[in-house]
Amino acid sequence: MPKITYIEFSGKSQTIVVANGLSVMEGAVQNDIPGIDADCGGGMACATCHVYVKEEWFDKLPKKEDGEEDMLDMAYEPKKNSRLSCQLIVSDELDGLIVSTPSKQG
């Protein structure tokens, strides 16, 4: 199963096996990774599961839907490599993905 690495703002890094089909957000929440709040529960309605995707991964991910870009306008300190982790569905192609969380979610 794919491994996802979550890097906290403090620099602490955890690599976790996340089942195919779960979102990167769910992988974090189910494993108590701090820094991803996911207030709306994955509905692309709150921008509190915002993560920065490691550069080399950014272009390999499925493109953003319009709604995701709109929500990222609301995110805390959005950057070019920002994504909502609820929209990143884990698959074998994402094995090795590295994401980092912002200093806070709002």
Partner: protein, 338 residues
Amino acid sequence: MIKTDTLIIGAGPVGLFCVHQLGIIGLKCEVVDNLDKIGGQCIELYPDKPIYDIPAVPECTGEELTNNLIEQIKAFKTNFHLNERVEEIKKVENKWITKTNKGTEFESSSIIIAAGVGSFEPRKFSTKEIEKFEGKQILYSIRDKTVFKDKIVTIFGGGDSALDWAIELSNTSKVILVHRRDEFRGMQASIDKANQLKEEGKIEIYTKYQLDSVQGKEKIESINIKHDDKSIKEIKTDYVLGFFGLIMQLGPISEWGLNLDKKTIPVNTENFETNKEGIFAIGDICSYPGKLKLILSGFHEGALAARGCFKYAKPDEKYRFEFTTSSKAVKNRLGVEE
């Protein structure tokens, strides 16, 4: 001081159905919510999104669900205190005294917290030095637009609030609109209007820029905005407005002496009472083994919490379970004909 049996904090779907459950067992309640409208997340975050897991309702939107719940509790003529956030609660003898940020006070024998993930607050700028200017020259909402007359106003954001205020204030102020990307997400008519005003020289628009820093001691003198390519631009401005939507914050709830587990309140599953006698928590904000954050679970929690409130409201009476299909008393309370 408003006296009632139960104070409900939160006017989302779970709080609304709890009004019903209190009402049919003959208890009065008042509802406080920090939003300016009834419906909670259903109305603020996803009014148009269909929901498929409300029992016996195959499909409805957040707005339809809210409207139906309001219809269902019409008979109880409940007072809603909107735009108010509960700040303090304290126990005086066997009553809870609750105070909101607007100074409204309630006396009730029980409190039901149905506050979701907390209250909706405006999202703020992340720049460090902004705090001392917040509420003065840095604002997230507009109460009195006349203060901006003949001033320079810099507006950040790409949605309808940012566009609407940029258009409106351009009549009386010099307006600079800044957004983090090229596309705006507002109504097409507003986007067109803003672009037209830009062509006419009435507003300046900078895209792919975000706030970088603020200069000034007592007052803001200028701000720096940073482009995606890292270049910096200095803007002289009198006011800075940020319209980044709302975020949910637990807020004062964390100061009431309730046990907390992350951002949730642990409860028992018999009546969803917290560690404080007479304070109940239902819906997304409560936690217990097996908790599901579903609206339907919140309805169940509200039904049991309402019965839990009965003994505090009417300590000398015994609660009797009755069905809405057969009880005359319940039908009277609902205002329906026999």
